[in-house]
C-alpha cells in the first residue's frame, strides 16, 4: 500500500462490507501540521471483542483467507509518520476510524489519487452515499456521490466521460487547498 488514498479506498471497502449506506471520507490538514484521515460509516459496527482484533493481522472476518491486513497496514504507516490510529465503533450504529500523520514527516506516504479512489467508490456503489471532505488551512470542499447523481440527473456515475470530468473537478479543488498532484504542498506546511 503506497498511498494514503489507497488506504482510504481499502478501509471504505470495509464500511461497504458492513452494509453502510453512508460513508464519509475526511482528509483534514490542521494548522499545526497534522494530517487526519477519517472514515466514518453507518454500517453494522463492531462489538468490543471484534474491535480489539482489528489490529491483529491474523484476524479477519473473511473466509477466503486467514489474514486481515488493511487496518494493521494503515496503523503501521501512520505510526511510521509519527502518528497513530484509533477506531471507535458501536454495534448497530457504525464505525469511525481515524488515522493521524505528521504531515511534514519524512516517512509519510504521499496522499495519492484521492479523486480516483472516491470515483471508484462512487461509481461502483449507487445505493450508497460516498462523501469526500477535504480541508487545509487554505480552505476546504466537499462532494458526495448522492449530490452528484442528483445534480447531474443520472442514475449512476459509471460513464467514463463523466468520471473523467468529476475527477478533474475534484483534482482542481484539491489543488486549490494545497493538495497538489497527490502530495501536500510544501508551502502550506511551512507557512
Amino acid at each position: 500500500m503506497k498511498e494514503i488514498a489507497l488506504h482510504m479506498l481499502d478501509i471504505a471497502e470495509n464500511s461497504l462490507e458492513a452494509g453502510a449506506t453512508r460513508v464519509e471520507l475526511v482528509l483534514e490538514l490542521s494548522a499545526g501540521g497534522m494530517l487526519e484521515l477519517s472514515i466514518l460509516d453507518n454500517g453494522k459496527g463492531m462489538d468490543d471483542e471484534t474491535l480489539k482484533m482489528t489490529s491483529d493481522p491474523f484476524f479477519t472476518s473473511r473466509t477466503t483467507r486467514r489474514v486481515g491486513m488493511g487496518i494493521p497496514l494503515l496503523r503501521q504507516h501512520a505510526e511510521l509518520a509519527g502518528g497513530g490510529l484509533k477506531i471507535h465503533s458501536e454495534k448497530g450504529k457504525g464505525t469511525e476510524l481515524k488515522a493521524v500523520f505528521v504531515a511534514g514527516h519524512p516517512d509519510i506516504q504521499p496522499l495519492g489519487d484521492i479523486e480516483g479512489c472516491w470515483m471508484i467508490l462512487a461509481a461502483m456503489h449507487n445505493e450508497v452515499n460516498i462523501e469526500l471532505r477535504c480541508s487545509t488551512p487554505k480552505g476546504g470542499f466537499a462532494i458526495s456521490s448522492e449530490l452528484a447523481r442528483q445534480e447531474l440527473e443520472v442514475e449512476h456515475l459509471n460513464e467514463s466521460s463523466l468520471r473523467t470530468e468529476l475527477k478533474r473537478l475534484i483534482r482542481n479543488n484539491l489543488a486549490a487547498i494545497g493538495f497538489t498532484d497527490g502530495n501536500i504542498d510544501k508551502t502550506i506546511l511551512n507557512s
Binding site: 500500500m1 471508484i120 476546504g140 470542499f141 459509471n158 470530468e165 473537478l169
Partner: protein, 133 residues
C-alpha cells in the same frame, strides 16, 4: 464547509454530457453483457487493482464492448493479485491472475473480443494447501 466549487460546475458537466451523447441503458439485459469483476480487497488494492479497474472500465467503454465492470472482495488468490473474473455471455466465468494494465489489455483484445484464451488463468480446481486440510 464550502460545497465543491461549485454545483454550477457539476451542472455544466451534466449539460455537456447531455449534448448529443446517447445514453446507453445498461443492466437491463445483464446476461448479454460481458461481466468483469475486479477483486478489490487489501491484497488487490496493494497490488494495483485500482489501476486495473480504471483501465478496464475506461478501455471497455472506449472500445465499444458492452460490459459491466464491478468490484468484488478477495477471491483467495492473494498471491496472484490483481485478479479479475471475466464472464462472457453464455460462458463459464474465468479468473485471471496478475492482471496489470498490459495483461488487462491482452484480455480485452484476445479473450473478451476474440474468445481466445490467454495465459494467466487460475484453474477452477485449484486448491490451496490450507483447503486440503
Amino acid at each position: 464547509m464550502e460545497k465543491i466549487r461549485s454545483l454550477a460546475d457539476l451542472k455544466k458537466i451534466r449539460d455537456e454530457k447531455n449534448k448529443g451523447v446517447e445514453l446507453r441503458k445498461k443492466g437491463e439485459d445483464a446476461e448479454k453483457l460481458v461481466q468483469v469483476k475486479v477483486a478489490m480487497a487489501t491484497c488487490g488494492i496493494a497490488s494495483g487493482a485500482k489501476e486495473t479497474m480504471e483501465f478496464l472500465s475506461e478501455s471497455l467503454e472506449k472500445r465499444g464492448v458492452e460490459a459491466v465492470v464491478t468490484q468484488t472482495g478477495c477471491m483467495g488468490y492473494c498471491y496472484a493479485e490483481p485478479t479479475i473474473e471475466v464472464t462472457l455471455p453464455g460462458k463459464e466465468a474465468i479468473v485471471f491472475g496478475n492482471v496489470n494494465i498490459k495483461k488487462a489489455d491482452e484480455i480485452i483484445e484476445k479473450y473478451i473480443k476474440g474468445g481466445e484464451l490467454v495465459d494467466g488463468i487460475i484453474p477452477v480446481n485449484y486448491e490451496t494447501i490450507d483447503s486440503k486440510e
